[in-house]
Symmetry: C2
Subunit: 341 residues, 2 copies
């Protein structure tokens, strides 16, 4: 329908196409009278400037890419990603970017995606979910010079911009809380240990324990992958070691862990206290008042886009790191309310 061009609008208004362009881009140098006339015509005709033409001449596509590697297998199982994507979408809306979504699915060679991402003119910048497998792709992208923000701390390459939460401190905070409540045998169900988030939270756990003079009992440490099933299985596996409290690296896993506990006839927090991580809406549902580390997922997404926009405008060097804070949300599953009686 809208196959009008700048030229068409210009003719109808009896001005040149530059003037119309100026009106569209809010340049000051247009008389009010002409501006009004042109604006009216634009509105009446429903004219929209051609995106590709604009992108070509201005070398800005106003599109940013979000890359989610296939190893993010909790994508359709964990509410974390949808929430993150909502935040990112919101950030894009605010800054007038279009969001291009690049899910690397099983069948696609990760190699294949590089040309699509680096093709000049299609993306102003890239948001890339940190991931071990994708790390060499990240390096290539960084070298290509395209503005790039890694979501989460990347593996090898600290010489690159990223946004993350302080997972180590957050885990320490959680475990400290457990210690302060008097628990003696504190276990953990970790995230996947081929991700920095998994590693960092685990390290925080160890660090907190050590600071309090506890030794780390490896039987109390089980690797998970953020899925509920692994939370369930992890708790089953950890139970023989007789924990009195467990720091579970995601709420989704905590739900599985609590399910395992209940099936064994164990009560939360009386028999085993639980602290989760994420604080997504599900964490405080009817039968589950999970004490958890709140991370600002949505705001994190918004911020990531703002950060990327910064790099697009001001350049990618030197690399910068944004670390967002977390906070402990104390509800019932850690047993704090019992202690206060």
């Amino acid at each position: 329908m809208s196959n009008l061009t700048l030229e068409d609008i210009a003719k109808r208004c009896g001005v040149s196409r530059s003037t119309v362009s100026r009106v569209i881009n809010n340049h000051p140098n247009v008389s009010d009278k002409v501006r009004k006339r042109v604006q009216k015509e634009i509105k009446n005709t429903g004219f929209r400037p051609h995106a590709a033409a604009r992108a070509l001449v201005s070398q800005r596509s106003w599109t940013v890419g979000l890359v989610l590697p296939r190893s993010v297998n909790s994508f359709f199982t964990d509410p974390y990603y949808p929430r993150l994507i909502q935040g990112i979408a919101q950030g894009c809306n605010q800054l007038k970017y279009t969001l291009g979504l690049y899910l690397i699915t099983d069948s696609e060679d990760e190699e294949e995606i590089f040309p699509r991402l680096s093709r000049s003119g299609s993306l102003d910048g890239i948001l890339f979910q940190s991931d071990q497998i994708g790390d060499q792709l990240i390096d290539r992208l960084a070298q290509s010079g395209i503005p790039l923000v890694i979501i989460g701390r990347p593996f090898h390459n600290d010489n690159i911009s990223y946004i993350d939460i302080d997972n180590i401190s957050a885990a320490i905070m959680a475990v400290n809380h457990l210690v302060s409540l008097g628990y003696q045998r504190i276990g953990t169900i970790t995230g996947p240990l081929n991700t920095t988030v998994g590693i960092d939270r685990k390290n925080g756990y160890r660090q907190a324990l050590q600071e309090h003079g506890f030794s780390v009992d490896e039987d109390l440490v089980v690797e998970g992958d953020f899925t509920e099933d692994k939370g369930y299985a992890g708790m089953l596996k950890i139970l023989p070691a007789q924990p009195d409290a467990v720091f579970v690296a995601s709420d989704q896993m905590a739900i599985g862990a609590i399910r395992a506990l209940r099936e064994k006839g164990l009560r939360v927090p009386e028999d085993v206290a639980i602290i989760g991580f994420d604080d997504l809406p599900l964490s405080n549902s009817a039968d589950l008042h999970l004490t958890t580390v709140h991370q600002p997922v949505y705001q994190f997404g918004v911020k990531a886009v703002e950060f990327l926009n910064d790099l697009i405008i001001t350049g990618t060097t030197p690399p910068r790191h944004i670390i967002m804070g977390t906070e402990l949300v104390v509800r019932e599953s850690c047993g704090a309310h019992i202690q206060q009686l």
Copy 2:
């Protein structure tokens, strides 16, 4: 990095830019010798044609948009959407489209998005999640002539292309199965009744009952919204009417419903049989062997993109409708295995 142009490659190879263009686009009229030389140079330099320039001249952006209205509040709660998006992403990869994601978030006026979608040159076509609120946006989009496929049956406008599953037949199939197992008081927890999918599944339920000569007891019908919480609340609400079986319009709600049942000390399926809808991975987890209607969410997404691609190539008229099949997956929650003893 890759600020090379066709012209640069041409020079290095001692040919014209037309020839390089031909090589890139696999035109036949290039001698093997030259083709090889150019291909090698492209590979060596890592040259990528400029997307915007290409889009401008060919009037194809190779991008399709996916629009998710804000009323889809189960977006970050129900695994359905992530799975659908995976399918769509896969379809896009196959057909070499980039996927543009348009989440309409609370704060954004739905009006505001129309210009972004209809801006010429940015999108080759649009996938739009059916939704009551968005329906007028759908009409405007359709009128603008852009290739458009609605995901799910739209509300008022049958004069538009859409892809859906046969929700009515699927619900009938589910309820028939319950009837054939001898249940007498079959209830339903519906989807949101401001969506066609919610309405259709409810109508299928009624229809099946009526075909078998059952009257529809309104106390056995409760409106839900696809979230687990509403499944939980819905079951609590329906319980006084003493159902012996309940058709729950989504697995996510079924999980909540079963939770409610268990809390009341009721067994599934002995006391109340349950059939869900979706058959996402969660439906067959450790403690939950849900009988459910399988819908091919992932393939549905792939198919939607293929359909859209068809419209892009062959034109949007006349509108076509694709209806994908579903099947009943009998597991334990409906009690069929007990009957067989």
